[in-house]
Amino acid sequence: MLSFIVKRLLQALPVLLLVITVTFFMVHSAPGGPFDKDRAVPAEVLKKLNAQYHLDDPLWKQYLDYLGNLLQGDLGPSFKYPTHSVNDLLAAGLPATLELSFYAVVFALVVGLAAGIVASLKPNSAQDYISMSSAMIGICMPTFVLGPILLLVFGIWLGWLPVAGWGQFPGDKILPSVTLGFAYAAYIARISRGSMIEVMAQDYIRTARAKGLSSTRIIFVHALRGGITPVVSFLGPAIAGLLAGSFVVESIFQVPGLGRFYVTAAFNRDYTMILGFTIFFAALIIIFNLLADIVLVWLNPKMRQELRGSN
């Protein structure tokens, strides 16, 4: 198992390098430097700032310098907020974003799987249509439409939940998490419905029924193991979308996460921030994909054995 993980991590390194390189050169090739946007800066001061941050060095040198720093874990200072390093800013926003994403995934899994399994038990019945229509709403209503609507209904009109904040008011984590997780719950519901229907049609489920086992046991012990595989496959790459979606949710609900920082950094040409965040996200995505792959292997007895080397 260990060698599998190591091998995959090694394979991921070139991809990470690619991301860093592409991002670096993309950012630097944009017209205008980080300090051009500020209120008219006198030419001398501009020159000094650029020298201080090595912005007048040849591009390739800046690139190598950046890589060097990166290896030491130093993401550099933020151009917009020079007193803070990118690492600091990341650390400041990360907990909220991670927590939000975590709740969203938990919500998505619990609600999505429940809806999908319930729908798969009686295809083309009422419970199926209701479940899948709700899922369709989740897929077709973008986060940035759903969020405000939920806010409007539950926060403003009904007044049940707080409209902003994170950890400051009781229940203020509910709306953002649900908003972010809803689309994923929808996808998981559809995927798990499809795969559970397929699994339940398999011969080995017929065998289980012929053995006289209870429906609960058949669904949860026999069918679920096979049925859950496509959901795991989906979740791995979905993390990328989840992070992107969190930007929107954070701005709508005023959650102090990384999302807001990222978009403003992009607007401000804050090179180091952009680079730092992009690399961080890319690394997160790679790790999550790896985790999902590991779970997939663990679920499949054939592959599990291959890794242990036994047969």
């Binding site: 599998f4 017929r206 006289g212 209870s214």
Partner: protein
């Protein structure tokens, strides 16, 4: 021993609502099963034999299927009106079932131990320890060696025959009174089938089980059953003891089934031109195929020997049978001859020219002369082309017919294979399996090839249809002076059609000889095993 009626089925009627309308799967079926006896239910596909038994167990999927009427009395209780809870109590406990495909019938995600133990813990409330011990004993009884360690393994670690043994062990764990076996050996190799049949027979006697044995193979039914019922299109056609059915059949369908069971030698003389040089000479051919072992780590390709140093000759006018079980390499050999698969070494001389060395353009010319008929009538025709298109394509591409003459040629082909000319604008999915195979045969003979390679062309067909197609092939080979390489796993089919036979096992050539001589006096051990495994009437 009292011959009490253990199970009594009366006027069973089962309907299916598909998107094409309603079909009656089982109509007015009545039969009874006595304790300790084996009842064989024989029929082709669509006969309703499996549906009837699934209905007894309540295993028919309810939205499309529906049990309209009838009774099935088991110890006085009507199974068809029993509640789901009552049925669950009986399933796996008093009435057990084993199915056709052992590959897919065991849960690939669970260990064998867990799948066995759950039967006992659910029905007999045994502790895990007790259940495990009983399960191990059961595995030993069905012939699984090292049961103590193997019980912890997963299904994919067992071979097909072993898996079926596990299924049988699982079914017998709770000491049921009735075992329903739905075509349990159809998916297995002939030699393995013989072992499993013997196993079931032995267990039936030792456990005094009542067995319902469903099969399409009359020979198997003859071996296993005390009484037989014959079904066709949902109806019961005939019933009686095994002896009366086979010796004194009364119904036309039963007689047709019996006729279709081939036990005879080739009815016409060989047309082989023995004095001419061989039409096809295969010399020392080696075909290895890459097997990606290791799904994740070792993506190296391992070379398995598909065909290991095999040489055969075919004379013009001859029908050569190529026989073997799965993994024997017979299909690979056939495909390598027409270069659908690449051989690593060896020669394939066709009319003196080595096919393996031909360039692409020359190959096209030669391809006219060797055609192939495939096994699966559903997959071997392009679903988006009409019959006319399928048959006209080779004729037009190779210039045998022009746009003016092609229709006549196609009509002739349709006549040749016994299909109505009016159907040429229809699509493959509108035909039955047997009709599709006729179209495939028509396509193969369209180019008037010198050699036809037929890869298990009747294996996927029902018994009665099989007989028709074989008769058709025989007629065509005579009419058009065809030479054929006939690949099959079925010895009796080979005996009916082929002049000479070649036997393969695990990629190697085991024995060859003139058909009747091979059948009456086989030399090699494996050939003897194959012949002994044929279920006899």
């Amino acid at each position: 021993m009292t011959s009490e009626k253990l199970l009594s089925v009366e006027n069973l009627r089962v309907l299916f609502n598909t998107r094409n309308g309603q079909t009656v799967a089982v109509e007015n079926l009545s039969f009874s099963l006595e304790a300790g006896k084996v009842l064989g239910i024989v029929g082709e596909s669509g006969s309703g034999k499996s549906v009837a038994c699934y209905a007894l167990m309540g295993l028919i999927p309810s939205p499309p299927g529906k049990i309209e009427s009838g009774r099935a009395l088991f110890h006085g209780k009507d199974l068809l009106t029993a509640s789901e809870a009552e049925l669950r109590h009986l399933r796996g406990n008093k009435i057990a079932m084993i199915f056709q495909d052992p590959m897919t019938c065991l849960n690939p995600y669970m260990r064998i131990a867990d799948q066995l133990i759950e039967v006992l813990s659910h029905h007999k409330k045994m502790s895990k320890k007790e259940a495990r011990a009983k399960a191990i004993a059961s595995l030993i009884e069905v012939g699984i060696k090292d049961a103590e360690t193997r019980i912890n393994e997963y299904p994919h670690q067992f071979s097909g025959g072993m898996r079926q043994r596990v299924m049988i062990a699982m079914a017998l764990l709770a000491e049921p009174e009735i075992l329903i076996a739905d075509e349990p050996t159809t998916a297995l190799d002939v030699t393995v089938q013989a072992q499993i049949l013997a196993l079931i027979k032995g267990l039936q006697k030792s456990h005094n089980l009542a067995v319902i044995f469903i099969t399409h193979d009359l020979g198997v039914a003859a071996q296993m059953a005390d009484d037989i019922i014959v079904m066709e299109k949902g109806k019961l056609v005939e019933q009686g003891t095994t002896e009366t059915i086979f010796k004194l059949p009364t119904q036309e369908y039963t007689k047709a089934l019996l006729r279709a069971v081939l036990t005879t030698a080739k009815p016409v003389a060989s047309a082989a031109k023995l004095n001419e040089p061989s039409l096809l000479q295969v010399k020392n051919i080696q075909v290895g195929y890459a097997m990606p072992t290791g799904l994740l780590l070792n993506r190296k390709k391992q070379f398995a020997r598909g065909v290991d140093n095999v040489s055969i000759n075919i004379q013009r006018g001859e029908i050569l049978g190529l026989v073997g079980e799965s993994g024997s390499g017979k299909s690979t050999l056939g495909r390598s001859i027409i270069r659908l698969v690449d051989a690593q070494s060896g020669e394939v001389l066709f009319n003196g020219k080595n096919l393996l060395e031909l360039s692409a353009s020359n190959l096209k010319e030669t391809r006219r002369s060797i055609q192939m008929i495939f096994q699966d009538p559903y997959a071997s025709l392009n679903p988006r082309m009409t019959v006319f298109d399928t048959l006209a394509e080779p004729l037009l591409v190779h210039g045998i017919a022009t746009k003016n003459t092609v229709l006549d040629c196609v009509n002739e082909l349709m006549d040749d294979v016994g299909l109505d000319r009016r159907f040429i604008r229809k699509y493959p999915h509108e035909f039955s399996g047997g009709q599709r195979q006729r179209i495939a045969i028509a396509r193969a003979i369209a180019l008037k090839p010198q050699l036809i390679v037929a890869d298990e062309p009747v294996s996927a067909l029902d018994v009665t249809i099989r007989a028709q197609i074989l008769a058709l092939l025989l007629k065509l080979t005579q009419k058009h002076n065809l030479t054929m390489l006939f690949i099959s796993h079925d010895m009796s089919v080979v005996r009916y059609l082929c002049d000479r036979v070649v036997v393969m096992q695990k990629g190697k050539l085991v024995e060859e000889g003139v058909t009747e001589q091979l059948f009456s006096a086989p030399q090699q051990e494996y050939t003897k095993q194959l012949l002994a495994a044929i279920p006899t009437l």
